[in-house]
Amino acid sequence: MKGGGTVQLFLQQLLNGLTLGSIYGLVALGLTLVYGILHVPNFTHGALYMVGAYVAYVVTVDFSGNYWLAMALAAAVVAGLAVLCERLVFNPLRHSPPIHDMIAAIGIMLFLEALVQMHWGAEFRRLPVAFEGMVDIAGLNIPAQRLLIIGAAFSLMLALQLFLKKTMVGSTIVALAQNREGASLVGINARRVAMLTFAISGILAAVAATLFAPINLVYPAMGHLLIMKAFVIIILGGMGSIPGAILGGLIIGFAEAFGGFYISTTYKDVIAFVLLVLILSVRPKGLFTRGIR
C-alpha cells in the first residue's frame, strides 16, 4: 500500500468496505433465499461456506488445479450438500415448531465442522491468490483479487436477480416465497423449488468462500463469524428480501471498514452486532421491513 493523503486512505477504506460488503451480500443472499422459502434460519449456511473453502483448497493446493475449476467444483459439492440437508433434515421438519429447525441446523453445522477438523486439523490455511499483482486506478493501488471479488460478486447478484425475475424457474421461487398455498394451486412443485433454492444458496456460499479465502484464512470455524454477520444483515434488510440482503451487506461492510480504521481495530468485529442491537432497540422489526413482523 502506497501511503498517501487522507483522501487516499479514505478511498482505501471505501474499497475495503466494498470488498467486505460484496462477500457479506453473497452469503446473506443465500440465507435470505432459504428463509423466504422455508422460514428457517439456516445455521448450516456458515458451515457450507466453510466446506466450500476447503473444497477449493483441496483442488488448488492438493491437486494444483485451476482457480475457476476449484470454484466450480466447490459450488457443485456445496450445492449437493445443501440439497442433501434439505431432503434429509429440513423437509422432514417442515411441520415442527421453528425451534426444532434451528436446533437441527445447529446439529448439522457442528457435525460438518467436527468432520473437517478431524480430517484437516484446526490450523489456519491459506488459499493461493488467483490473481497476483495490483491494478492502478486513479492513483489507487488495488490488489487484483479484490477487484475480482467485487466484480464477481456483483455479476452474480445481477445474474441471480435476472434469474428470479426473468425466467420461469426463477419466478417459481419468488412465487413460493410469496404464498405457499397459492404457488401450489397454480401447479408449482414445492419440493423441487425448495431443493433448487437450497442448491442456489449453496452455490452462493461456495463462490463467496472461494472468492474471499485467498485474502482471508481457511479454518474449520471460519464460518462462525460470517454467518452471524449474515444474520445481522438479513435482519437489517428484512428476512427474505433480496435487495435488503445486498444493501445490508454493503452497510455492514462499510461500517466495519470505516469503524475498524477510524474507531478501533480491536472491536472491529463487534461493530456489526452493536449496530444490530442499536437498530433493533429502536426498530424491533428491522430497518427496511414494513407491516407486520
Binding site: H39, P41, V89, P92, L93, S96, P97, P98, I99, H100, M102, I103, A104, I106, G107, I108, M109, L110, F111, L112, E113, A114, L115, Q117, M118, H224, L225, M228, F231, V232, I235, M239, T266, Y267, D269, V270, F273, V274, L276, V277, L280, S281, P284, R293
Partner: protein, 333 residues
C-alpha cells in the same frame, strides 16, 4: 413394566435419585469420577435455567453460555481483583446475572422467534468479545487464575473434591426444587401458555412481555450462579467460557433429556457427560456423534427421553381408562 413406570412418576423417584446422588461417591470411589459428576451438576443448574426460558416459555436463548460466563467472571473479578470473600461474591454474581438478563431481555424479548434467537446469538458473541478484549476488567485472553474455592468457614474445605461434590449437589437440588415450584405454579403455566401461543395468551389477559422477561431474568440468574459455582470449582476461567459451543452443548443436554420437562435437564446433562467421558477418545470430535444425534432426536424424538416417556405413559393411562369405561358399559348392559 406397569409397576416400573408407576414408580418412575411417584415421589419415590425423588428419594431414590437423592439417595443415589448422596451415595455416589462411595459407589464409585474414584475421585476423578466424583469430580466429573460435580461438574455435571454445575452444568445441570445452568441447563435448568435454560429450561425455564426455552423449555417452558419457548424462547430459544442462544446467549446462555454468555450469562454463565458473566457469572463466572463476576465472581472471579470480585474475589481476585477486589478481595471479596467467596459467598458475597457468589450472590453478587447471581445479581449481576439477573441484571444483565434484565437489560438484554428488555431489548431482545420484543423480538419474536427467529429474530430473538439470532439477536441473542449476537449478544452472546458481544459478551465473548468483551471478555476477550476488555483487558482492564477481564484480564483479556489470558483469563483469571487463582480464584478461591467456596469458603467453608473453617469447617469444610471446598477445594477438596468430595465436599465440593455435596455443595454442588445441594445447589442442584435447590435449583430443581425451585424449577418444580415454578413449573407447577400459575407462573409456570403462564409461561407454557406463552410458549403455545403468544396471541392466545395475550387474549387471556396475560402480559407476554412481562412474563417472558421474568422467565428470562430467572434463567440468567440460574446461569450466573452456576457460572460462579463453576469458577469456584475449576478456579481458572477464560473467555472461552462464553463460547457459543457451550450454549449448543446445553441445548443438546436439554433436548436429549426432554425440553420443558422437570427431570429432562438432569438426565440429559448426566447422560451426555458420561457418554462424552466414555467416548474420551472423541473429545475434540464429539460433535461428529452429537451433531447427527441432535438432528435425529429432533426429527424422531423431539420430546427427548423424559418427554417421550411421559407421553408414552399418558397414552397407556388413557387406553386403560378407555378400556375400563368399555368394560363398565358392558357390565351395565
Amino acid at each position: 413394566m406397569k409397576r416400573l413406570s408407576d414408580l418412575l412418576v411417584s415421589p419415590w423417584l425423588t428419594l431414590l435419585l437423592t439417595a443415589l446422588a448422596l451415595l455416589f461417591p462411595w459407589l464409585s470411589g474414584d475421585e476423578y469420577q466424583i469430580y466429573v459428576m460435580a461438574l455435571a451438576f454445575v452444568w445441570a443448574i445452568a441447563v435448568y435455567g435454560m429450561n425455564l426460558i426455552t423449555g417452558l416459555c419457548g424462547q430459544l436463548n442462544l446467549a446462555h453460555a454468555g450469562f454463565f460466563a458473566i457469572g463466572a467472571y463476576s465472581l472471579a473479578i470480585l474475589c481476585v481483583d477486589y478481595g471479596w470473600t467467596f459467598w458475597p461474591a457468589f450472590f453478587a454474581a447471581g445479581l449481576v446475572g439477573a441484571l444483565s438478563g434484565l437489560l438484554v431481555g428488555l431489548v431482545s424479548l420484543r423480538l419474536k422467534e427467529h429474530y430473538f434467537s439470532i439477536f441473542t446469538l449476537c449478544v452472546g458473541f458481544i459478551i465473548y468479545l468483551l471478555l476477550d478484549k476488555w483487558e482492564e476488567l477481564t484480564h483479556g485472553s489470558v483469563g483469571i487464575m487463582d480464584i478461591p474455592a467456596p469458603d467453608g468457614f473453617g469447617l469444610v474445605d471446598f477445594s477438596e473434591t468430595l465436599p465440593f461434590y455435596y455443595l454442588a449437589l445441594t445447589f442442584l437440588i435447590l435449583a430443581i426444587w425451585l424449577s418444580r415450584r415454578i413449573g407447577r405454579s400459575l407462573l409456570g403455566r403462564t409461561f407454557v401458555a406463552i410458549r403455545n401461543s403468544e396471541e392466545l395468551a395475550q387474549s387471556l389477559g396475560i402480559n407476554p412481555m412481562r412474563n417472558k422477561l421474568l422467565a428470562f431474568v430467572l434463567s440468567t440468574t440460574y446461569a450466573g450462579l452456576a457460572g460462579a459455582l463453576y469458577a469456584g470449582m475449576v478456579r481458572f476461567i477464560g473467555p472461552a467460557e462464553a463460547d457459543v459451543s457451550h450454549t449448543f452443548d446445553m441445548i443438546a443436554y436439554l433436548l436429549v433429556g426432554g425440553i420443558g420437562t422437570l427431570l429432562g435437564p438432569l438426565f440429559g446433562t448426566l447422560l451426555i457427560t458420561w457418554l462424552t467421558q466414555t467416548l474420551q477418545f472423541l473429545e475434540a470430535y464429539r460433535m461428529i456423534v452429537f451433531g447427527p444425534l441432535l438432528v435425529l432426536l429432533v426429527i424422531f424424538m423431539p420430546k427427548g427421553l423424559v418427554g417421550s416417556f411421559l407421553f408414552w405413559r399418558n397414552r397407556q393411562l388413557a387406553r386403560e381408562i378407555e378400556a375400563n369405561g368399555k368394560q363398565k358399559e358392558r357390565d351395565h348392559a
